[in-house]
Structures are given as C-alpha cells and as structure tokens.
Symmetry: C2
Subunit: 345 residues, 2 copies
C-alpha cells in the first residue's frame, strides 16, 4: 500500500461531476474560468458551490502530466546553509511565488557528481526551469541542459565560453576596487586569501587583486596570494594567515575573497595580538555578521543580492517563453567602507 493512499482520499473533478450529473469537461472549464460566457450562469454557480463545499483542490500532478508544466523551478546552490545562498534562496522564493512557481532546492557542495544528480532529479520531476550555481567541471552538464533546451539561468558563477543565461557579479571590478581602496589608504603590501578553484568568478577576483597591485606597482609575487581548497575549511584559512604573517615581508593588508574565508579568517585574527587596521588592514567579500561585530568593523564588497535573485527568476521566465533570447548580466558591487581598511598612521 503506497504511503499516499493512507491519506484521506481527495475529491476529484469526477466526484463533482457525478454529484451534479454533469461532465468533467464542464467542471474543468468552470473551475479554470475557461469558456466564460459560454456556460450557463446556473451550472457555473452550482459547480462552484459544490466544489467549494467539497473542499475541492485540483491535483497538480495530474494537471502537470497533461499540460507538461509543473510550475516548479529547481534551484541548485553549493550549500543552502551558507547565508549567501540562503538569502538568495529567499529572494528567489518570493519572486517565484509572485509568478506562481514553487522552488525545489538542492545543495551540490561543490561536487560535480552531486550537481549532476540534482539536475537529473529535477528534470525527472519535469521542472519548468533551473537556476544553477555551477560547480567546477560542470561545463558538460550545462551544455547538456542547453542541448535539451531546458530553461536555465546560471547564478553567481558562469563559464565565459558557454553561451548560457547568467546573473553574476563583476567580480574583477569588485576585487580591483576593494584592493585599490586598500592601496589608497596607505597599505603597502596586500595579501589575498581565496579559493584554489578554476571557477571563473574566483579567477576574476584573483585577477582583480593582481591587476590592482600591478597598476599601483605594489609587490605581487605569489607569496602574498594564498589559494586554499574549498573543502578544507577553517584550518586552511588559519594556516594561510600564519604563512602570510610569518613571511619575510609580512603584508600590512589582507583581502578575503569570500564570506566564508572572511568569517573564518576574522575569527582567527581576533585571537592574534595584531591590531586591525593599523597592523593589518582588511577588506572582504560579502556581508556577514562578522563584518559588523568584529572590533574593527569590516570594509566589504556588497553584492546586490535582491537585484540578482529577482533578475534570475525574470530571465528564467522570459527564457521559458522565448528560448532564443540569451541574457547575461554582470552586476556592479558596492564597496561598503568601514573601519577595518582605514589606517590611522
């Protein structure tokens, strides 16, 4: 006995039709507001009344099978418990709901296998479209989706060589600006801690950092740039900070290239004796509680999450109806300047 059958039997169109001695066709038309004016007021009224009294609710699964439309969007992020993605998820949920869509979600944890599995699960469930924060090596998955004409919007990340819709940040510009800001504030040597990843958006942050250094003729050898594996977490961040600070010429400024790195890094720095910003100035990516509560409030790169989430849904909907249109949006970040980047010296 399938689990579903234990639930109370739901009333169907047929139940209403039988009760009134009319056809299901008629009931369907009335309840969907179709054929208005072509159905007598009397039958319309009695169908509506009976439907209400029986607490009729249409079975969306049956509707979906017939119409090949589920009004469901699949959202794949790295990790729904990462505040960056949970905030985005909330915005996407609200915008989806306005358009009568429901969101199913999954966390890929940066694994191409998990990502692929989620894509398949979502497609098997006939989602009307997918919003995807792609992982490394996801190129083939994306190409497959495009080949099958699945409405798709990449979010946060994209592959420049793949012609997919996307909503992203101009990460190069954001990093360039953040690091330039440190330089303008008398920081002489700037370290960066980022993720050791081939993902374009992370490469762009690195490029922005390096270009800002080069343009200002600051040291930019590999020793001030620490790339850590995404899955190593806190210890890796701490080790990177140690290596930077114990170097021959330790940096007097630091650029944390993600919210997680910033959060972990700042907790570690909090345990050290050096003072921010005078011993070490800091800028980081993304808004976190850490940015507010650290003794020296952090200067950070603020992404326009609301606009990005909203835009992702709008592009996805557009794409469902006009699959030929390709939309690629790079948003500007805002640099929110606080104490952590402003040396007094």
């Amino acid at each position: 006995l399938p689990a579903g059958l234990r639930m109370k039997k739901k009333v169907s169109l047929k139940d209403i039709a039988k009760k009134l001695g009319v056809s299901t066709t008629l009931v369907s038309y009335v309840l969907n507001g179709k054929m208005k004016g072509r159905i007598s007021e009397e039958t319309t009224a009695k169908i509506l009344k009976t439907a209400a009294s029986l607490n009729y609710r249409p079975n969306q699964i049956a509707k979906s099978l017939k119409t090949s439309k589920t009004n469901t969007i699949g959202l794949i992020v790295s990790d729904i418990s990462n505040p960056f993605f949970s905030q985005l998820a909330r915005i996407i949920e609200d915008e989806a709901e306005k358009n009568n869509y429901t969101v199913i979600f999954g966390s890929s944890d940066g694994s191409p296998e998990r990502s692929q599995k989620l894509i398949h699960i979502f497609l098997d469930r006939q989602v009307d479209g997918i919003i995807l924060a792609p992982v490394e090596q996801a190129e083939s998955q994306i190409k497959e989706l495009l080949k099958n004409k699945v409405p798709l919007v990449l979010i946060d990340r994209y592959f420049p060589e793949i012609e997919a819709n996307y909503v992203a940040l101009d990460n190069y510009q954001a990093a360039f600006r953040a690091v330039s800001h440190l330089i303008e504030n008398k920081v002489k040597c700037i370290g960066m801690i980022g993720y050791d990843s081939s993902l374009f958006h992370l490469q762009e942050r690195k490029r922005g950092y390096l270009d800002a250094l080069k343009k200002n003729k600051l040291p930019h050898d590999i020793s001030t740039l620490k790339m850590i594996r995404h899955n190593l977490g806190r210890e890796a961040v701490e080790q990177a900070i140690d290596e930077l600070l114990n170097a021959e010429n330790p940096p007097d400024g630091l650029f944390f290239a993600s919210n997680m790195i910033a959060s972990q890094g700042i907790k570690y720095i909090n345990t050290l004796s050096l003072r921010v910003p005078d011993d070490l100035a800091i800028v980081c990516f993304d808004e976190t509680e850490a940015a507010d509560l650290f003794y020296s409030p952090l200067t950070y790169v603020k992404q326009p999450l609301f606009e990005m989430g909203q835009s992702a849904i709008r592009i996805l909907l557009k794409c469902m109806f006009s699959p030929k249109i390709r939309t690629q949006q790079n948003f500007e970040a805002e640099l929110v300047i606080r104490q952590s980047s402003l040396k007094k010296g």
Copy 2:
C-alpha cells in the same frame, strides 16, 4: 504553446517498447527491476541497453500520478534566510536525499495566511508529507492536516494541546538553565528580551526565565521583561534595551531569547559605553557569528540542530507507513559558556 513543450521531447517507455517491438509492460518491469527471473535475460539486456542508449529517464510526474507517491516533502519555515532555518533545511535536505526524497520549501514569515497558502500549494502538489514550523494561530491548519491524515511533523514549535508529531527543544529547561547560570555568576538583576508571541516555545522561554528568578528570589517584576513584536526588528530591540538600561534599577544581566534578538541586541550594545560582562552579563539563544566575534564572546544556548533535523525526517517517514504512531521529542539544549556571562568582579 505551454513552456514545457519547448523543451526537447523526452523519450518515454513507449518509445523504447516501439523500437524493440515489445510491450511497455515489459519495459516498465525491466527498468524497475520487478519480475526478476521471470523475464528472459535476452529481453532484459536489450531493454536496458536501448534505455541507456536513448538516455531514457522516467517521468516522475506520470509515475506519481499512478502511484500517488511523489517522493517529495514540503518544508515550511518562517524564513529560509534565517540561519537557524537554513541550517535546519540543509540537514533535512541531506537526510531526505538519503531516503530518496526531494524537498520543496516555503517561508511563512510568521503569517498564518502565508502558512495556509503554502500548505495548500504543497498538498495540491501531492507531497508525501510536511515538516512545519507553525506560526501563531496555526492550530486550525494543523488540525485540518491531521484530519486528512497528512503525514506531518512540527519542528521547533508545537501546540501542547494538539496531538501532532513534533521535534522541539525543551525551551523551558534551556531558558531556566541559562538564567540560572547568570545568577550563579553573581548577576543580581536580569532582564529578558523576547518575542511578544503566544507561541508555546516562546512562552516556555519566558517561563524558564521567570522561574529561575523566582527560585533564586531575584526581582522578577514585569519591568525587566521586554516582549517585542517579531516584525518590528532592530529598532524594537534597541528600544527595549534602552528602556531596560534607563530604568531606575537597571539590570546587570540580559537574556536574549532568540538568535535574531541576540544579533541585533549585541550590535546595539557594541555601540554603547557599557562593558560586557562586568557592567552587563549576557546569555542568548542559538549559535550565531555574533556569539564568536563580539569582543566578549557570548554564552549561548546551543540547540542540537543535526539531531533535530534528522529526527524530523525519520519521524515523518515512520508516520507515512505507520500513521497511528505519535512521536513527540523534546531535545535538551547545551549551554555553551563563554566570557559574556562571567563577571570578574
């Protein structure tokens, strides 16, 4: 033309059957691994091969319609962007996936109307069960679900007078212990900031606070207890703190009864001249980044999120197959003691 039709036509059982000149029955049996040993190896092999070569993927919507099982769970929280719920969501996602379930989610924002709407949307989609963090005035919604025998587990909150499954914290005990801890550490007058809500779990936090005061013969008049409306946010928290601190006998200890209140409260206190813990000792509910990074790391009530999330799914699954069993779990919180509650004086 419905959006779904723009996608590439998917291959169906019938396509495989036609190509091989066999019945869809046979194809269905083979691909579902049923009737093992009763189907010739030869046909089994050729069906599997053709299915693979055609990239066949079963249409879950059709399967669901037939079997009345969607392998989908509806998760309704207050706000998916609240870290408490996004962490829970991640745990639920993982545990659901292990059991071959997908999660659709929605945020009720504490509104009974939104909650009701989400419940209806999820039921229309024939979810196999619902995990719900109920809002105020949700009693009738829950009763309706029970009446219809919808597998249901309440999470984080419940109504003691309603006989539903739930997974929750022993909030009375947690609050009692947190406040007692302050008293043991020489705090003489303790204020509380909580939500002005009839929800049982919040009432329990208040009761735990008041009982700890009473038991220790500390002042427990209404003036040290500030209840704020959930939707007022930061300003309300700040105002409550001001009122407490500007009172005739200002408290030298504070109990923040939720993660949001703690986060907002601590940011405000950070701007004041008083020192934590010596001028004002603090304990709060839930783990937040604020707890770690505030200059005086916060003592907090830690909820066993993993166990709670995992348990919610397990109870839900059990409930699908044995609807008669009622499981109600109250978990013990752990009090994580840090600097903010330990006065030096």
